[in-house]
Every structure is written in structure tokens, then in C-alpha cells.
Subunit: 233 residues, 2 copies
Amino acid sequence: MSGTLYGIGLGPGDPELITLKAARLIESASVIAYPALAGGQSFARSIAETLIPANVLEIVMDIPMTMAREPAQAAYDKGAAEIAAELEAGRDVVCLCEGDPFFYGSFMYLHARLSDRFPVEVVPGVTSLTACAARAGMPLAARNERVTVLPGPLPEDELKQRIAGAESVAVMKLGRHLPKLRAVIEGLGLTDRAVYVERATLAEERICPLSEAPDEAPYFSMILLTKGADPWL
Amino acid sequence: MSGTLYGIGLGPGDPELITLKAARLIESASVIAYPALAGGQSFARSIAETLIPANVLEIVMDIPMTMAREPAQAAYDKGAAEIAAELEAGRDVVCLCEGDPFFYGSFMYLHARLSDRFPVEVVPGVTSLTACAARAGMPLAARNERVTVLPGPLPEDELKQRIAGAESVAVMKLGRHLPKLRAVIEGLGLTDRAVYVERATLAEERICPLSEAPDEAPYFSMILLTKGADPWL
């Protein structure tokens, strides 16, 4: 009998925001897998670090830092093959994922490669979306309000159109796209409602009005735009 | 010195999807508060049940089942006053919230009433959004895809327009609005991509194609519409 692949959401960064289920599965794992960026440290592994048992087998997927398609595909192909070998040998594999595995998570590339051949269980995690809202003290949505999640790399025109037609908006993956977002939000006259959140729930967390945000943001940063107090209150 | 109000996200229902932080705060609480609907059981309390210490003081906010504004406002006013009395006496209050406190959670009504007078800490939780995706095996979004969250009570025309212009869509709070959503999604030719999820992660969980969903859904149900496999894979 083959093993089960667990895709485990670890939450936004604070190790205490790991769920009881994720903690139990990590603590009892014999094989773990996780992505690391371009030979660097793995953020996912660092969140789970204190829970990882000694003598666990670790499968590191080294993901190249590139927008090109083939090198990243090759990295996930290699990782999936290593994981498949463990599953075929009857061992469960616990894949560590920042945030939630199915919310902009790289786990979906493993899911696409392995879910037709092996049992897969996805354990949802706290997303950066609600973690940023919690830390900024900004309720996202109540009653019949809509929430729109937009990735920062989208074209300027599309961002403008989507933000203009939205209620609560979260713009993720800011990085070098922050100045573009700042211009879009300023053009819509919404700057005084926009908050910038960087590395929410981590020691290096930074929260400030968008007008005071840096010009270059890290990947793990977000702009939140909400309607403010609910009129129904 | 006044106490701190903690708004604690408990996740979608499975008690194992409570975070380590939420569990720690509940286990050490001396005062807890939670909503209950129209004199019935509290779903939030039931999720946290095994963690609640003996001899804890419990503040129950009995929320009337009505669309009218004043009775619900009065219930939150009363709950906020009881919580404020504890905070003023220097005791922390742990407010139990299904899902995430700031993602369609009633905690925001307490936040609006109390956050200018007392220290408030919001502990984010796993949302039904990613819990439903995990249970249905449906990745929500990767790379530069957008995610749109829509409440089911929105007017039919608006739902049609929003769903037509979206990529991944989650429609929440279905209840008696399910037939309307079914018609909208059928009209857009998207029924074969739509999945219905009811009470995700609970024992009574139900997941099926939208075409096989019941005519009347509970409040805790969702339709997920995703693009399917990411072409970048």
C-alpha cells in the first residue's frame, strides 16, 4: 500500500499559528518535503522548525529564482519524483507549505503531479490574507461585502479596473510592483484607506499607511484596502 | 490596568484546525465570550469545547435570527457591555469566533464597539474559503490569478456580472440562495466546473458537483468555481 501525501499549511510565519493538526502530522513525520528558493533557506521549514523530529528524511525542492517556465517545472518534476519514490515505498510524506497549500501555494504543483497516483490530504492553514487583516486591525468583510484578491504583478490597467470595482481588496506579492500599485491607488483617490503590511506575524513585521511604505517591498507583503466600519453596526 | 480582548479564529469546524496560539489562549482563559444564534447552541463554543477550562466565566451573546437591524445591534451592544465590564476589572476576555474573526465574522461588531477603549488582539484562523478548497481538492489560485469572494445574498444580476468577470470564485452563505446561484452559474455555462461544499471538515461534511447539490443549503456552505489545472504546470 502506498503512503499518503500531506500538503500542510503552516500559516503566515508565526509558528504559533500552525494548526493542531499540522503540528501533529509534522511531529509524527518520517519524511518531510519543502521548497527552498534558489539554494537559500526554506521559509516553510523555518516556520515548522521546532516541530520537526530528529532523523526525519528531508526532501528539499530547490526552486530557481526565475520567471522562466522550464527550470521551475524541472524542479517540481524532480521533487515530485523523489516524493513519489517514498510514497511507493509505503511511507507518508508531509509537505510543508507557507500559508495555505491551495492559496497561491507551490503545493499545487505537486498536487497536479501526484494526486492522480497517490492519496493526497490537504490541511488548510491560516492565509496571509486574514493574518495581515488581523495584525492591521482591519476587518476584511462583513454581511454582503465582496473580497477581491489580486496579485501585484498584474498589468496596471487591470489592477486599476479591478480595484475600482471592488469593495475590500488585498493585493499580494508586491515586491518590485509596489510603486505601480501606489500610483494606481493614488489615481483612484484611495490612498488614505490603504495599509501596507510586510511579513505579518513575524518579528520583522511592518505595518504602515501605504503613503509611508518603502519603494521596494519583499515578496511577503500586502496592501489592504477596506471599506472601514460596517454601516450596519 | 484593563484586560485585553482577544478575538480568536477557531477555523472551519474541525477542532484540530484550531491554531496552537488559539488553543493556548482558550486553555488559559478565565472569561470567554461567544455568539449563539437565537437561543440555540453556539457553533463557535462547540469547536473549542474540549479546550475550555472548568469554572470559566462564559458571556453568551444571543443573536436573534432576523434580517432587522436593531435587534442584532442591541444584542451586540449588550454583549459588548458585559465584555467591557470584565476588561475594566482587569480581566482578559477570549472571544470565540468560527473561521477567522475578520472574514465575515461577527467579532467585527465587537471590535467596532470596543477597540477604541481597550487593547484588542485578533488571532487569525483558517477560513472556510481554504478549508473548502482543501476538502474538495481544488486549488484556489496560483501565480497571477485572482480570487473573488461573493456572498450568496447579493442580487442575481450582480452575481452574474461578478462571476463572469472572475477567475477563481467562492460564493459563501448560500442558504436559500442556492437555486439563484445555480441558475446564474448555469446561465454562464460554468456548472460543470462548480463544486458544492457543505460543513467542510465536520462529520456531516458534504461535497458534490453543483448539479447534485440540494435545493436548500445551510448557511455554512459554499460554491467553488476554479479554473482547474494551472497552465504553467
